[in-house]
Amino acid sequence: MSGGNAVISQQPGEVIEPSPFALPSKKLAIWLFIIADGMTFAAVLLAYGFLRNASTTWPRPFHSSINVGLMTFILITSSLMMLLAVRAARLGNKTAAIGWTLLTAGAGVVFAILHIREWLGLVREGMTPWRNPWGDPVFGATFYGVTGLHLLHVTGGILVLIGVALAYKNGRYTADHIETAGLYWHFVDLVWMYVVPLIYLMNLSH
C-alpha cells in the first residue's frame, strides 16, 4: 500500500490506515530509531564539546592516527559490504546476501577488537574514566563515554547482522530485514564520521 485513503481489509470491521510517508512499517520504525539515536549522539558530542571548550587544560594524548585511520577505513568499507548485501537480497541472491552480511559483521568484529586494543593501551598509560595523567580528568570520562556508546552500538549491530543473516538463511526473514539491519549499520558508520574528527583528530599531539 503506497498511501492515500484508508482501506477496508478482508476482516469485517477492520480498517487499515495508509502507511505514513508510504514507507513499510519496519523501515519507518528503524528510521525513527535512527533519528532518536542520532539525537542522543548529537547531545553527547555537544556535551563533550561544551566540556572541551570550558577547559583550559584539555589534553592532546593521541600520538598517532594510524589505528583510528584503520578503524575508519574498516567501518566505511563495511558499509559498502552492507550495501552489496542489500542489493544481493533484493536480487534474490540469497547466498551472496548472507555472505556479504556476515562479512559486514566480521568487519565490525575487527573494528571492535582494534577499539578495545586502543582502550587497553590508554588504560596502561594511566587514562581511566576517572583519571587522566595529561590534564583535565574529564577527558577520560568523555572519551570512554562517547567511544563506549559507539562501541555498544557496533556490538549491537554485529549481533543484529548475525541474527538477521541466520534468520534470512532459514527463510524466516526477508530482504526487507536485511535492508533494515543495513540502515542501522550505516547509521553506526555515520556517527563514527563525527566521532573521529571531534574526539581523535582534534586531540592529536603534533
Binding site: F21, A42, T56, S65, L80, H186, L201
Partner: protein, 107 residues
C-alpha cells in the same frame, strides 16, 4: 517481498554508484586526517573538520541509506527535525564560554 522490474534494474545499476560514493567518503575521511596535521588552532580545525564530516554524513544518508529514493515529505521531515534539534542544542555554548573566562570560579 515483491521485486519489481524497476527495482531489479535499479539494483543492477547501483554498484558503480555505491563504489563512487564509497570512494568519495574515503577521500573526505583522508582529507580530515590531512587537516588534522596542519598547524591550526582548535577553533580553526573545527571549522575545517566539521564541514568535511557533514559532507561525508550527507553522502552516507542520501546514498548509502537511500534517503534520496524516499518520498519527498519523508526527506523534508527527517532533514527539518534533525536541523531543528541540532540548532536547539547550541544554546549551551554561551555557558561554556562563561566557564572558560571565569576559570572555574563562576557563581
Amino acid at each position: 517481498m515483491e521485486i519489481t522490474p524497476e527495482d531489479h534494474a535499479a539494483q543492477r545499476g547501483g554498484v558503480g554508484r555505491y563504489v563512487l560514493v564509497y570512494c568519495c567518503i574515503l577521500i573526505l575521511a583522508a582529507l580530515q586526517f590531512v587537516v588534522a596535521y596542519s598547524n591550526a588552532s582548535a577553533y580553526e580545525m573545527l571549522l575545517r573538520l566539521l564541514p568535511l564530516a557533514t559532507l561525508e554524513a550527507i553522502l552516507a544518508v542520501f546514498f548509502f541509506m537511500h534517503l534520496w529514493a524516499e518520498k519527498r515529505w519523508f526527506v523534508i521531515s527527517v532533514v527539518a527535525l534533525t536541523l531543528f534539534v541540532l540548532i536547539s542544542l547550541q544554546y549551551s555554548w554561551t555557558d561554556s564560554f562563561r566557564l572558560l573566562t571565569c576559570g572555574g570560579k563562576c557563581s
